[in-house]
């Protein structure tokens, strides 16, 4: 009798999940990172390069003019087109916050789906594809690029790379040269979002080469070479590397040896520990030892089969190329000075890790069924929830780091994690709100400026630098105004009278309560209040 019961249970576990069930769990997996990043996304604040990119794409004309104008060392026409489109979609400046938040998260979702499709089709296993989808998005490694628009350049570049791989895979399976051409086009586009997107060509080459398509493998490579050549021809002479590299030229900044040692440290620290929601610090020797350990274990596991599978090769290449190039150009600084400074550098290597890891797992679990079973679905749900739990505390830490340190006169809270988190959760929406008011004032100024025909040059003469909450000191919010460079009204007194009130700088928010005493916001007020 018990055998019968066991067999029934086993049959149920091994039974397939229906279409509705599949759609439901897919939706859950795609929404889970949104829930993890909810505070930073719901209360999105424009910061750092957002202002510069938005200013450069405020109008279609400006976007075209800036298409190949480098931003630091990046020539990113695709990114500028995307930004211009989003500015048009937002319509008015106060709506930029939610528009960019939605676009940032949408990019993450697209990337997750593409990785899932690529892996699922590579092995013909839906479950493995979903596992790759979960591993790509459910991580604090992508907190920066999943919650900050400009950092999300790396996600869009990754979309280009993985999208290209999906098309190359489709061409390999179904044929049709348009797929190959479209893949080459995506390889081109990947570099147009962010420079490291140019890794698409070499990665596509590795992928097709490992599948035995030796001649076609050169197509994505050629695409990338053409993309780099065109970008360099049209925008290369405007690149001012000294801004990015702290006063150094590319040649002075680059150090391939440091690129190698930084890569050895970044792999265990940022792809290893941070993917477990933990932070640790290595030395170069330890980084080399850990990478050697991973390499030995991997090589032993593939020994019997004579080599890596295409997904492992492509993923591994993506990790190594992206990190090596990134860290080579940051080689003028020791790795200890770079930790946590450029978290978006990990986005593309993380996608590489998802491909490499699922390629490795796929090799070891070949006997698993191609469809999604109920047992598999439960396992994937446990995996995704487990990852969310594992990363929660690191996301909270990043959230705490995302608000300014307590200023003078701000109530002193007990120095515990819980109080710091409460403070961050209070301040994120406050900063969002105040910045939104600033953007609304800018929008009003734009209206007044248009009505009175005031040019941006006159505004600059009268008011100097225009401030918006969290605008970096190197930028000017003037660029966010859709006004002509010069206007008809040039009288400073009239301009000041018309816009003086609008350009009053806002006060940065802080937690309530002026007394420097320990306690929660409002705790030191009398009970009747």
């Amino acid at each position: 009798m018990s055998d019968v019961k066991f067999a029934t249970k086993r049959r149920w576990i091994n039974g397939p999940v229906g279409r509705g069930g599949q759609a439901a769990i897919l939706a859950f997996f795609l929404l889970l990172p949104g829930w993890m990043f909810r505070e930073a996304l719901v209360d999105y604040r424009l910061h750092s390069d957002d202002f510069e990119y938005l200013a450069g794409s405020r109008t279609p004309a400006r976007a075209v003019a800036n298409l190949f104008r480098p931003h630091n060392t990046h020539i990113v026409p695709a990114w500028r087109v995307l930004t211009a489109t989003l500015v048009q979609v937002a319509g008015v400046l106060p709506r930029l916050q939610e528009t960019l938040a939605v676009a940032t998260y949408a990019a993450l979702v697209i990337l997750m789906i593409l990785v899932g499709v690529l892996v699922g089709r590579e092995f013909g296993r839906l479950g493995l594809g979903l596992a790759a989808l979960i591993a790509t998005g459910t991580t604090s490694v992508l907190f920066s690029s999943g919650t900050w628009y400009s950092s999300g350049q790396t996600v869009w570049a990754a979309i280009g790379i993985v999208g290209m791989l999906v098309l190359l895979q489709a061409w390999r399976i179904c044929g049709g040269s348009w797929r190959l051409v479209a893949g080459v086009g995506l390889a081109w586009m990947a570099g147009g979002f962010w420079t490291i997107g140019h890794a698409a060509g070499p990665v596509g080459f590795v992928y097709l080469w490992m599948h035995g398509r030796r001649r076609a493998a050169f197509a994505p490579l050629m695409g990338t070479i053409a993309a780099v050549a065109i970008a360099w021809t049209l925008g290369g002479r405007h690149i001012d590397a000294r801004i990015s590299f702290h006063g150094r030229s590319e040649r002075e900044a680059a150090s391939p040896l440091a690129g190698l040692t930084h890569t050895l440290q970044a792999i265990p620290e940022q792809l290893g520990a941070e993917n477990l929601g933990l932070e640790t610090e290595t030395t170069v020797l330890q980084g080399a030892g850990l990478c050697a350990l991973i390499a030995v274990v991997w090589l032993l596991s593939i020994r019997a089969e004579g080599g890596p599978n295409p997904l492992e090769a492509a993923g591994g290449a993506l990790i190594v190329i992206a990190y090596f190039v990134e860290w080579t150009f940051r080689g003028y600084l020791p790795f200890s000075s770079l930790r946590g400074i450029v978290p978006w550098y990990d986005t593309i290597p993380h996608v590489g890790l998802a491909l490499f890891g699922t390629g490795w797992i796929g090799r070891m679990t070949r006997d698993h069924p191609s469809g999604l079973t109920r047992g598999g679905a439960v396992g994937l749900l446990a995996f995704s929830i487990g990852l969310a739990v594992v990363h929660q505390s690191r996301i909270e830490s990043l959230l705490m780091d995302g608000v300014p340190q307590p200023g003078e006169g701000e109530p002193v809270l007990p120095p515990t994690r819980e109080f710091r988190l409460l403070r961050a959760r209070y301040l994120w929406p406050e900063y969002h709100r105040v910045q939104r008011l600033d953007l609304a004032r800018l929008q009003r100024a734009e209206g007044v400026g248009r009505r009175l025909s005031i040019g941006r040059d006159t505004i600059h003469e009268v008011f100097g630098r225009i401030e918006v909450l969290e605008l970096p000191s190197v930028y000017d919010a003037l660029g966010l105004l859709d006004l002509p460079e010069t206007g008809m009204l040039r009288d400073p007194a009239q301009v000041r009278a018309a816009l003086g009130e609008v350009f009053q700088p806002s006060v940065p928010p802080r937690i309530p309560g002026g007394e420097a005493q320990p306690g929660l916001p409002g705790m030191n007020q009398p009970p009747d209040d």
Binding site: G277, E279, A288, G289, V389, V390, S393
Partner: protein
């Protein structure tokens, strides 16, 4: 190529590998071995281990909440072996390291015979010996109690293994005795009986289930004797330590999970990290899931090494964190010696997992060139991971750098040299202070003086490294003088004793700027 690698490497190569792996921990911890220092609880144990009947008077006296008669006797014996008080730091350091080496060899031997592979045995030696997880126990005599306990756990296991191998129940007698001795070195030794019985139960087909209880009975007998002999003082000690304030089961689980992730996971890679309770729980569950999935895939049940290893991880952590569940995990991170026995368990479990299906104890196959290559690669990688961590620990143990030092010594290499200089200077001062103290003792005996008489005349006497929290005793308790009696002629005393009992302050390092305050005022012990 393959056939050449599968050839036996020869007995000499195997032996040489074993010798190198037994020596490697000494190389790893050379900074501590070359600058012996007694610290913390060492002083309390030494004060209770003076000559005559003193060690026997304190034999069953709890130290914190541990009744450790065997450890007290061992300390007393080592003091006799040292001869002079000035030699004691050196002798204790060497003895502690010898325990580590014996533990490494015993573990390697057990693993080699259990898996039937010399390569796995040597791998276990490398893993256990070249790991900073054991650093607190390997570099501090009192924390080395856990090494002694670990060694007796391994003796229990080796005896039970022999009883199975030779099909002789006679070998259960040493297992019984070792399991009885282990808790008398450190309370965590109660695990000896548990793991011994788990091992025998796993092989019950060969031994008969009833006899599996022998090690456990040894431990229970030992606990009975301890409770009977220590009696009320033990209950008082447990109550004073806060251990009996109420056990919080959820905290035992979360503390255990955090320790597994931080101390057995990351620390075994030479890294430090700090985790949160739920996060660690999820990661530990992931690890368990991975293990169970691999068992299901290969269609096997856990082997003896995995069973014993898992028990040796869970039981000591369970016991330690049950007694410490009143504290948050942040307060327990510094108690690194709690990880000694779970680390042995991790090595057994890890090698067992790697080895897969094991038929049972047998004479190990010869070491092949492939095995030699594997052990060599593992050892090199372990050294690459743990040498930087050892250097960092050495730097962290030194007094905090002054602002001028931070500017002058910006790189870890220089900071380590500073740490070694300061440790060596302190070790030398401590040795000189102990030698002077011994001469004071001789003078005291010659003049019929007591410790109280000296104390009344010269106040409290301390030596470098004396714990500031240890206020009931002082360095005079280390010398062989009666507690009370004798009178001191002030004039004569002022001539004889001050040079011997006065505290020698630390030398000011030559690189320090004039503005720097030296010695640093903060610390847990006399500088």
């Amino acid at each position: 190529m393959k056939s050449a690698l599968d050839q036996p490497a020869g007995v000499m190569i195997a032996l040489l590998s074993g010798v190198v792996l037994a020596i490697l921990p000494a190389w790893l911890y050379w900074d501590w071995l070359s600058n012996p220092l007694i610290k913390g609880d060492d002083f309390a144990f030494l004060a209770d281990s003076r000559a005559g009947a003193e060690p026997f008077r304190h034999l069953w006296e709890p130290h914190n909440s541990h009744v450790v008669p065997v450890f007290r006797l061992a300390t007393s014996t080592l003091c006799r072996v040292a001869g002079s008080l000035g030699n004691v730091p050196w002798v204790l350091t060497v003895a502690n390291h010898a325990l580590l080496v014996l533990l490494v060899i015993a573990t390697g031997h057990f693993v080699a015979w259990e898996t039937g592979s010399m390569g796995y045995g040597l791998g276990a030696m490398a893993w256990l010996g070249v790991s900073t997880v054991l650093q607190p126990a390997a570099t501090w005599y009192s924390a080395g109690q856990t090494l002694g306990t670990g060694l007796f756990v391994m003796i229990t296991l080796l005896s039970t293994q022999l009883s199975i191998l030779r099909q002789q129940r006679l070998w259960l007698i040493p297992a019984f005795l070792a399991a009885a001795v282990a808790p008398m070195i450190w309370t965590g030794g109660v695990c000896a009986g548990i793991v011994g019985s788990v091992y025998l139960l796993w092989h019950r087909g060969r031994t008969g289930g009833r006899w599996a209880a022998a090690p456990l009975v040894g431990t229970l007998a030992s606990l009975g004797v301890i409770t009977w002999a220590a009696g009320a003082s033990l209950i008082r000690a447990v109550s004073d330590s806060g251990a009996g304030d109420g056990i919080q089961p959820f905290r035992i689980v979360t503390h255990g999970a955090q320790a597994v992730v931080e101390s057995l996971g990351f620390a075994n890679l030479g890294l430090t990290t700090e985790s949160m309770p739920l996060q660690s729980l999820a990661l530990s569950l992931g690890l368990v899931w991975g293990w169970i999935a691999s068992l299901l895939r290969s269609g096997r049940r856990p082997n003896a090494l995995e069973s014993v290893g898992l028990t040796l991880v869970l039981a000591p952590y369970g016991l330690a964190f049950a007694l410490r569940s009143g504290f948050p995990f942040e307060n327990l991170r510094d108690l690194g010696w709690y990880d000694t026995m779970p680390q042995i368990g991790t090595v057994l479990f890890g090698i067992g997992w790697l080895a897969g299906k094991c038929a049972g104890p047998r004479c190990p196959d010869r070491l092949t060139w492939m095995g030699f290559l594997g052990v060599g690669t593992t050892t090199v990688i372990l050294l690459a991971l743990h040498v930087p961590q050892v250097q960092q620990i050495r730097i962290d143990e030194a007094p905090e750098m002054t602002s001028s030092e931070k500017l002058r010594l910006p790189i870890p290499e220089l900071q380590r040299l500073r740490a070694i200089y300061l440790a060596s200077e302190r070790s030398e001062r401590q040795r000189r202070a102990l030698q002077r103290l011994e001469r004071a003792g001789v003078l005291g005996v010659r003049n019929g003086l007591s410790r109280d008489a000296l104390r009344n005349q010269f106040g409290r006497v301390v030596v470098p490294g004396w714990p500031l929290a240890m206020k009931e005793q002082d360095a005079l308790d280390l010398i062989e003088l009666p507690e009370r009696g004798g009178t001191l002629d002030p004039a004569q005393a002022a001539k004889m004793f001050p040079p011997l009992l006065s505290y020698e302050p630390p030398n000011r390092p030559p690189w320090l700027g004039a503005e720097a305050i030296w010695p640093p005022t903060e610390g847990a012990s006399v500088p």
